[in-house]
């Protein structure tokens, strides 16, 4: 049973519960640092049009594959484009892919998970077998296949990643509902004649939110790597628009002449993925310390 459920059962008020979770989160120093890193990346992505020193798609044939310098802090690529500007703009594709894919997965997975867990019976069996089927296909291979059939683009990559990560949320919501629906306060809500949708939304859903938040944070990290992987393979963001994965795709052909082309996008991916992973761990400790 999660601490949230225990708190509700013990009659701990919502604001007090939130304060406790916040205190626990703030005590987790690495998670706070990770949150700062995530906020910084989001700020950079949002401010990219204003802080980029050059047009990310403008070529300069006199500056082809130049090493980092005062004029181009991170160097230039194979057709003279400024790497810093492309990195800043590329952060938009990565973060957008991470967040949108997870939103798609939640939008599809949460209702199915709630339904399977609450109703049970053959509906649960059907949804569970469909979830098993999706989980049986290795995540990235399914995403590559979906992106291939849908056509190569960032939007389709996000849809493909979203569909591939949906079963995680179906299972999570289903499991959480099955734990909570047998609690006394849910039985009480049912006994006083509350309709099923009200019980689901008012009494069960709030208990699904904390683990959902933790899982979403961790899945954003997975989705960012997946987007970079799809773009690296050429089925994600299409050139000349920048994304860290597509920048690595080009960089691998110029490793001996311009190693910096491969360095920066990889460092950025590692940093943001690490930040989301640490943030997810911190949120899990704060929202459900018993699980750790």
């Amino acid at each position: 049973m999660s601490s949230t459920v225990l708190d509700i059962a013990a009659g701990v008020s919502e604001p007090r519960r939130r304060n406790r979770a916040l205190t626990r989160f703030l005590a987790h120093r690495s998670a706070v640092v990770a949150l700062v890193v995530v906020v910084l990346f989001i700020a950079v992505a949002a401010l990219a049009p204003w802080i980029s020193p050059y047009d990310p798609m403008a070529t300069d044939w006199s500056q082809v594959r130049k090493a980092p310098s005062a004029a181009h802090w991170l160097g230039t690529d194979e057709i003279g484009r400024d790497l810093l500007s492309r990195m800043l703009w590329g952060s938009r594709a990565s973060l957008l892919a991470g967040v949108v894919s997870v939103l798609i997965a939640i939008a599809v997975g949460l209702p199915f998970g709630l339904l399977a867990g609450y109703v049970g019976g053959w509906i649960d069996g059907l949804i569970s077998r469909m979830t098993d089927a999706l989980l049986s296909c290795p995540f990235l291979i399914l995403a590559i296949a979906l992106a291939a059939f849908l056509g190569p683009s960032l939007t389709n990559a996000m849809i493909a990643i979203g569909i591939s990560t949906t079963p995680i949320f179906v299972r999570l919501a289903r499991g959480q509902v099955m734990v909570v629906k047998v609690e006394d306060y849910v039985e009480a809500a049912r006994a006083v004649g509350n309709p099923s949708y009200r019980i689901l939304l008012r009494h069960i859903l709030p208990n699904v939110v904390p683990p959902l938040l933790v899982q979403s944070t961790l899945t954003i990290a997975t989705a960012i790597i997946a987007e970079a992987s799809l773009s690296f393979l050429g089925v994600g963001q299409q050139p000349p628009a920048p994304s860290w994965g597509s920048m690595l795709n080009v960089a691998k052909d110029f490793m001996s002449q311009a190693p910096w082309m491969a360095l920066w996008p990889g460092v950025a991916i590692c940093l943001i993925v690490l930040a989301f992973n640490v943030l997810g761990d911190g949120l899990r400790d704060a929202l459900d310390p018993k699980e750790h």
Binding site: F139, I144, A145, F149, I269
Partner: protein, 313 residues
């Protein structure tokens, strides 16, 4: 035990049915007439008519599914649009390379992940624990393909120690084969080692708090015997089954690793098929990986039930 296996097989059947629906459904995602897309840029009307007939595109969807599933059950995964070779043959041809890569990767993952997990749990909250956790977290956060690129840059381009890519069959030259496998296997195995390390650590931590460990210590057994004979033996059971399940991640990772190191395996086949719009190969690879993954899951469940009788009921 037989009942347990039969029960698992019965659950597997509807899952298999949904997997087949999913893979068949992939083709329906193609915008417009699939024959037009498959016919390529020439759009030869004769070829389009032939494709309509060959793939029964004029038939209703349920009949097309039944015909497709019937062929798959007979081992016919269709043929490559580009080379006209049977897809099953192409996959079988590439499979040994990926199996070799997967084998080396799992070996590296076990050799790094399990000892690191044990040390981390035994030295909980010590420097080694923090170090192992940090490396583990880094292993989960570094994309395989980028690590591969960086290794090529350092080991092949700068130091010139190992080839940057390619593949030599072990039958031709075992030494060259091993040289070509070290870096891709290290890249793939490293990520899985991080997962195994985290699971070994948490399994060891819970086992080390068990009563029988306290009894073993009270009997005066040395730390080494307590940890290795009593602790590790029990903690390893879920970890080993997890290693089998990690095959799914391994196959996903192999797609990228094979691309970076130009290893001519399963992963490279699907990527090349995506770009040449050879959809039968894409479907075939997804089907084979899903089947392999399900089979390994079943084997892992059976292995787990064999050592843990409570699960059989």
């Amino acid at each position: 035990m037989l009942n347990f296996i039969l029960r698992r097989l019965v659950i597997l059947l509807p899952t298999l049915f949904f997997v087949s629906l999913l893979i068949f459904g992939l083709q329906q995602l193609l915008p417009g007439d699939p024959a037009l897309t498959m016919a390529g840029e020439d759009r030869d009307p004769a070829l389009i008519a032939f494709l309509h007939q060959k793939y029964h595109l004029d038939e209703p969807l349920p009949i097309r599914y039944a015909l497709w599933a019937g062929s798959v059950l007979q081992g016919d995964l269709g043929e490559s649009i580009r080379t006209k070779d049977p897809v099953a043959g192409l996959i079988l041809q590439k499979l040994p390379v990926t199996i070799e890569l997967a084998g080396f990767s799992i070996l590296i993952a076990l050799l790094i992940g399990i000892p690191a997990g044990i040390v981390s749990a035994v030295k909980k909250d010590g420097i080694l624990d923090y170090l192992a956790n940090m490396i583990g977290l880094a292993g989960l956060s570094i994309p395989h393909f980028w690590l591969g690129i960086m290794l090529i840059l350092l080991v092949s381009v700068q130091l010139g120690w190992l080839p940057a890519g390619g593949y030599v069959s072990p039958r031709e030259d075992l030494w060259l084969n091993l040289q070509g496998m070290i870096m891709p296997a290290l890249v793939l195995g490293g990520g899985i080692a991080a997962v195994l390390m985290r699971h070994t650590r948490s399994a060891m931590l819970s086992v080390l708090q068990a009563d029988y460990i306290r009894t073993a210590r009270a009997k005066g057994l040395t730390d080494r015997v307590v940890i290795l004979r009593h602790g590790l033996r029990n903690a390893l059971v879920p970890v080993i089954t997890l290693a089998a399940i990690q095959l799914g991640d391994l196959l996903s990772g192999a797609v990228l690793t094979e691309q970076v190191f130009t290893t001519p395996g399963f992963g490279k086949l699907i990527v090349e098929a995506v770009f040449s719009r050879d959809y039968a190969i894409v479907q075939g690879v997804v089907l084979c990986t899903a089947a392999a993954y399900m089979l390994l899951n079943l084997l892992a469940d059976v292995a787990y039930a064999l050592v843990n009788p409570r699960l059989r009921s």
